[in-house]
Subunit: 287 residues, 2 copies
């Protein structure tokens, strides 16, 4: 039989537990809807690498980086910007046949050329959890020059990654690296014919804003990177801090990965011509 | 009376002119819908300046720059990235009270810090036709440090500009420069109270994706810069090359400047609470 003291302690513990539940229920802090894995992700750090090359597409890089930047206020992340050489890397590709081998040979040095600073090279990039590969006209220039440094790097790191992402024609680099073999993927719809000529045994999905196969996420062109990144952040962390971030940066994401009117606009073979070209969007969490 | 030779020449000229009209009518090149001013804009160059400072918001800069970059393939533009010092400028602001004077003092050096390379200083920036001022937490840091270099630069150049644009809290810099006095303007809705405390005699528009008053264009927060830039490019050049660009970068812009659900989300005083939070968008030119 328990002593009076033990009984009292038990009694107080029960009352305290009940009070905690009452307080939690009435407090403005809603209980987290995050899964166990998301709660773990919220606590750990992620080492993120972003590949760049001369002729990187601005929004392919800074669309996803906007969301990652804002989320880095809440969750631990590091960023390595990785190229052949450290230092400024411009959005201007070197002279080459524009769009592909049959395109006009042009020196497009007159294009606006803002630069991002590469912090690491393919040789000394740190250990990575997440690797993101953008597209842009620079992908075409690399192919023409037989420069395989980007896909070699992807191939060398894929084994250590938690997640591998590509935006737009960055999928061509993933295809050439071999990591998409046996996988479903998508890419920029205006460059469909060129990009899907790379790689082997890839199930290219003609109508998709983005595709997820295992730990590989590939998006359609340029602005689709923003929508893929929202979905990726939601998958990784849940919406607790993500949705307020989206509403502070005033971006109403496209949340349906099957919405892809640009596959219809660009006459991609196999595109879903029956789907609506329109998507109705609003602030996440409010509609 | 004309000679036979003269008559023959006239006869041939008339036939040639008729043939030209026939060829133009059946050719695939649709006649341009551009206004006379847009046709002039298509032929001239524009000198564009983009202000940056430590703590610039990524998408405030590279959203508009994505569209400008793509349009620079078709129309002559130059870009100067302008800051206090040339060289890399990061998205990380220096330690300061976050969000405003009453916010927590924090060193946010842990944020992801990609950099853009400033090509010019406020002292040596070239002659400008268009000046764009982004926002970001750096605006708050500049205010706390009593650093007026950005607004002083805007004030010094406004007289020579064809157009002045701000994205997000960049409107605070415009307000402090005095250029918004007597004008309508808008800004990031999550930072409404702070930004609208600056300047005098400004008609702040509580619900607007962007506002145009004379030659001054101001947008709401972050992603709204993309939509304002589409509208600005359409105004400047027409849609001939712009719409194909938007469909190649797969961005379906919000084209209604009155759609501003974030003013409702962020409880901006005077926000239009009756408007729909939803906007239905699709590829421009197809819907």
């Amino acid at each position: 039989m328990q002593s009076f003291a033990t009984t009292l302690v038990l009694y107080i513990s029960v009352i305290a537990a009940l009070l905690q539940n009452v307080i939690a229920a009435v407090s403005s802090q809603a209980p987290s809807n995050a899964t166990a894995e998301q709660l773990e992700n919220q606590k750990r750090s992620f080492s993120i690498g972003y590949v760049v090359f001369p002729g990187w597409e601005p929004l392919d890089v800074f669309g996803p980086l906007e969301i990652l930047f804002e989320m880095s206020f809440y969750y631990k992340m590091t960023l390595a910007v990785i190229a052949k050489e450290v230092g400024p890397v411009a959005t201007v590709p070197p002279p080459h046949n524009i769009g592909g081998p049959s395109g006009p040979h042009m020196d497009v040095g007159f294009l606006l050329g803002p630069t991002i600073t590469a912090t690491h090279t393919f040789e000394n990039a740190p250990a990575l959890d997440i690797l993101i590969v953008p597209g842009g006209e620079g992908v075409v220039a690399l192919e023409e020059a037989n420069d395989t440094s980007a896909e070699d790097f992807v191939a060398s790191r894929v084994g250590e990654l938690d997640y591998l992402l590509s935006v737009c024609t960055g999928a061509a680099i993933l295809a050439k690296s071999g990591v998409l073999n046996g996988k479903r993927a998508t890419t920029n719809k205006g460059a469909w014919a060129q990009v899907t000529s790379f790689g082997t045994n890839i199930s290219w999905v003609p109508s998709a804003r983005w595709v997820v196969d295992g730990n590989v996420w590939t998006s359609s062109g340029v602005a689709a990177g923003l929508d893929m990144t929202y979905a990726f952040m939601k998958y990784l962390y849940g919406t607790e801090d993500l949705d307020p971030v989206m509403n502070s940066i005033e971006y109403a994401p496209h949340t349906n990965p099957h919405w892809d009117p640009f596959s219809v606009v660009h006459n991609v073979p196999g595109a879903d011509k029956n789907m609506s070209l329109i998507d109705c969007v609003g602030p996440v969490g409010y509609s």
